[in-house]
Symmetry: C2
Subunit: 217 residues, 2 copies
């Protein structure tokens, strides 16, 4: 598949590389085409990797991955262009962490809605799926580097887009029973509000290399 | 130990029963002594169980468990009396869920601080530990009713109070490696903000009988 990954930070480049390794073509999108980080990623990743503006990447792609910071995601996807998102699955990995008052950050959900819901409202024909925002970048694409079973969540209103997300996740090595359907797009609230716990645990463990596993009766 | 359990809802009575079964004396505290729910619990639980006002229970106890609703906890512990909490471990199980705008509820942290932090500020010599708020009542006292390992968190500023909480948890059947120290009392923010995810999962699973297990490298 042709996948646009919007955002050139650690999450974007790690996911981009993982998707190329899974056999997809990936275009890394950013505010300005040809920037240093994007070009370095393309050179390092090789065949299947390209880069461009948010709009270049989104227009070309069949699937969009939002790996921008949650506080700027609405702006980034607006720059990508509503027409370029229309009808496409948009995997939202973002976290709206507000560090303006220091650590620990707060989760910015000013009207009580998640970033994923805000994106879904702004781009109503896009098929937004919240996923992977609860896991450190390296584990997203290499889940087997933790021992045993652990969980990744998907939340969204479109079942086909959730299935597509699950397909991409299995390409990274996640097993079907590790992919937990958390429900409709409103469940993204809880997935974003999980971050303060994740950050506390990262602080006490001294590493981001951990995850939760859902245990059921 | 003599333990006051403040709150006569499902969480309070379940914990009260579990603590009596663990060999402790428990006094269930509520707004009014001799109310129907408290008397029924005492009759059902038998030896080791008593009831009284918030203040009766707290004055008598060596350890306090806050099992009132998070939105009224500050009021309940004020009624229990600052002098009756002074120097004692206060295990805070509460969740400040605000259902006033319907489902899903929001987590009420108006100034960004958790209920646990607000209690710690209001009663500075009490030793507040946030724990068990991430788990349905039946599992709190019967962790082995889920298969395999799963996790319970403790957060607080006083190491001895966290050790005491861990001791009570092991009495319910939690193993040492299942008890995760999430950090200082500020980590209670994340523990309370986890509830929307928990509620989403309860909705999709159709049962509250599940939990997370922390998986580390």
């Amino acid at each position: 598949m042709r996948i646009a990954v919007l955002g050139t930070g650690v999450v974007g480049t790690t996911l981009g590389t993982g998707l190329v390794r899974s056999g997809h073509e990936v275009r890394l999108g950013s505010r300005t085409a040809g920037n240093e980080k994007s070009l370095a990623w393309v050179a390092e990743t090789g065949e299947g990797a390209s880069e461009g503006t948010f709009a270049d990447a989104a227009a070309w792609a069949e699937v969009i991955v939002n790996a921008t910071g949650g506080l700027v995601s609405l702006e980034a996807l607006t720059a990508a262009g509503a027409d370029n998102l229309a009808g496409k699955a948009v995997l939202d990995i973002s976290n709206p962490l507000d560090f303006s008052a220091g650590f620990p950050p707060t989760v910015a959900q000013p009207d009580g809605r998640s970033i994923a819901e805000q994106l879904q409202s702004a781009f109503p024909t896009a098929k937004v799926v919240k996923t992977l925002n609860t896991i450190t970048a390296a584990l997203m694409t290499h889940p087997r580097s933790l021992p045993g079973t652990h969980s990744v969540f998907v939340a969204g209103d479109n079942p086909e887009a959730k299935e597509l997300a699950a397909l991409l996740l299995t390409g990274f090595g996640w097993t079907d029973d590790e992919i937990i359907d958390a429900g409709a797009i409103t469940a993204a609230r809880g997935l974003e509000l999980y971050l303060p716990l994740w950050l506390s645990l990262m602080g006490t463990f001294g590493t981001p290399t951990f995850n939760v596993s859902i245990v059921r009766a």
